[in-house]
């Protein structure tokens, strides 16, 4: 397929793997931010191609994994309303809140639908005028404006039975939190190319300048990932800390300005809780008051009294780059996709699930 096959090509993979091996002189810890990148690294077992000096750390960029238990409980609560159709992406269906998950609730009779796009949820609401369609809208900056486009479409069609339950995260504040940790191990970042396709590269530039770490805007195919690593290692060995765009075919410098305008119009920046990691200032978004008619938190108020007390899961430390799955006593034993102890073992792009599924034979 055009724009895919070239970036999975074995010749390029072997070239870049050799180039990385040739270039490395020191030990480096490099973090890929996005869960989609983690998934590809695990699936293609790219680490097998790297020299021992290069260690990959797996960042927090899986919105399904970092959506807090409280928000999932809220979604479950909304789905229990008989007039509601709760829709979301397939990824969200198995992620446990404090007690259950959407698939189990669906099995008990709740009307829960799996959709490909939030725009499809608008059509679902149009086809079911007597029902309230709530889209459980999770995402980073790539997906957030798609949710907002759905909101705007519902507004244009003067629909009153469509709302979003938002779990929106910003990537850059999490990267900043990671490098600010006193025991930070990250030397360089592979930034999430599809987030940058929306936001542009300004946030990465600020981060690289302020904290003196190279940031490589990187794609999601195996060749893209090795190319990002190669350019990151070249910088690290030269003691540089620049932003480089290794995914220029998809990421223009200024991102997508239409999508940015949608976000500026509809969202306020807030601090929020990342599951497993904790509170990060200015790392989330909520709908502005002028869009309260489309905000499910207003339509379905919810007081969560439950608190999860699972202390076995170290996924927060993994996503901060401090530990790896090999450090977890539960990984693959007490914690498996059948019986997950933490969210990253549930979502396909969660670091634990990806590494469990595509582990070394």
């Amino acid at each position: 397929m055009q724009y895919i096959d070239d970036y999975r090509n074995n010749t390029h993979i072997q070239t870049l793997a050799r180039a990385i091996n040739r270039k490395v002189a020191h030990e480096w810890n490099i973090m890929e931010i996005c869960g989609g990148q983690t998934y590809a690294i695990a699936r293609y077992r790219l680490e097998d191609l790297l020299p021992p000096e290069v260690r990959l750390l797996h960042g927090p960029g899986c919105p399904v994994c970092v959506t807090s238990e409280e928000v999932i409980d809220h979604a479950l609560d909304i789905a229990r309303h008989p007039e509601v159709i709760l829709a979301s992406f397939g990824d969200m269906m198995r992620v446990p809140g404090n007690e259950t998950d959407l698939l189990h609730l669906k099995a008990q009779g709740a009307d829960i639908r799996l959709l490909y796009s939030p725009l499809d949820a608008v059509e679902l609401a149009a086809a079911n005028p007597a029902r309230e369609v709530v889209f459980f809208a999770v995402g980073f900056e790539t997906t957030i404006p798609v949710h907002l486009a759905a909101l705007q479409e519902a507004r244009r069609r003067k629909m009153t039975n469509f709302s979003l339950l938002c779990s929106f995260f910003a990537v850059a504040p999490a990267m900043e939190m990671i490098v600010q940790q006193p025991d930070n191990r990250v030397d360089g970042f592979l930034a999430a190319g599809h987030v940058c396709a929306i936001t542009g590269n300004a946030a990465c530039r600020r981060l690289a300048a302020r904290y003196k770490h190279p940031v490589i805007i990187t794609g999601f195919e195996p060749v893209d990932l090795l190319y990002g690593l190669y350019r990151c290692i070249c910088q690290l060995e030269r003691n540089e800390a620049q932003v480089e765009n290794a995914y220029k075919r998809a990421v223009p410098e200024n991102g997508n300005t239409v999508a940015q305008a949608l976000m500026n119009d509809a969202l306020d920046t807030v601090g929020c809780k990342w599951r497993g990691i904790g509170y990060i200032p200015d790392s989330g978004f909520v709908l502005k008051a002028k869009y309260s008619a489309y905000d499910a938190t207003g339509k379905f108020p919810f007081e969560n009294t439950k608190h999860l007390t699972n202390t076995r899961c170290i996924s927060g430390e993994i996503m901060k780059g401090k530990l790896c799955t090999a450090d977890c006593h539960c990984f693959g034993t007490e914690c498996t996709p059948e019986h997950p102890a933490g969210a990253p073992m549930v979502s396909a792009e969660g670091v634990c699930a990806a590494y469990y599924r595509y582990r070394q034979p």
């Binding site: 895919i4 390029h12 180039a19 599809h194």
Partner: protein, 79 residues
């Protein structure tokens, strides 16, 4: 995060100006994708995420990146 897949614009429907859509061919699979945020014509390749074209793929940049791989390969040979 953010599974986004390249596809080729087959045709564009502008009948709803606020929600332009296109038929996009992903290599034997055709889907309707919203192209409201991108400036595209038939034959262009876009990157689709959750039903939305988030970016237009730049052929020149793609060729440049592939040329870069070749340059890296040549440098390895000559070392």
């Amino acid at each position: 995060m953010c599974l986004a897949v390249p596809g080729k614009i087959v045709s564009i429907d502008t009948s709803v100006p606020e929600l332009k859509t296109a038929k996009v061919d992903f290599g034997g699979i055709v889907k309707h994708i919203c192209v409201q945020w991108v400036d595209v014509q038939e034959g262009d390749y876009i990157l689709a995420h959750a039903g939305m074209a988030i970016s237009v793929l730049d052929e020149g940049e793609a060729l440049q990146t592939l040329a870069d791989f070749d340059a890296i390969a040549r440098a390895l040979e000559s070392d």
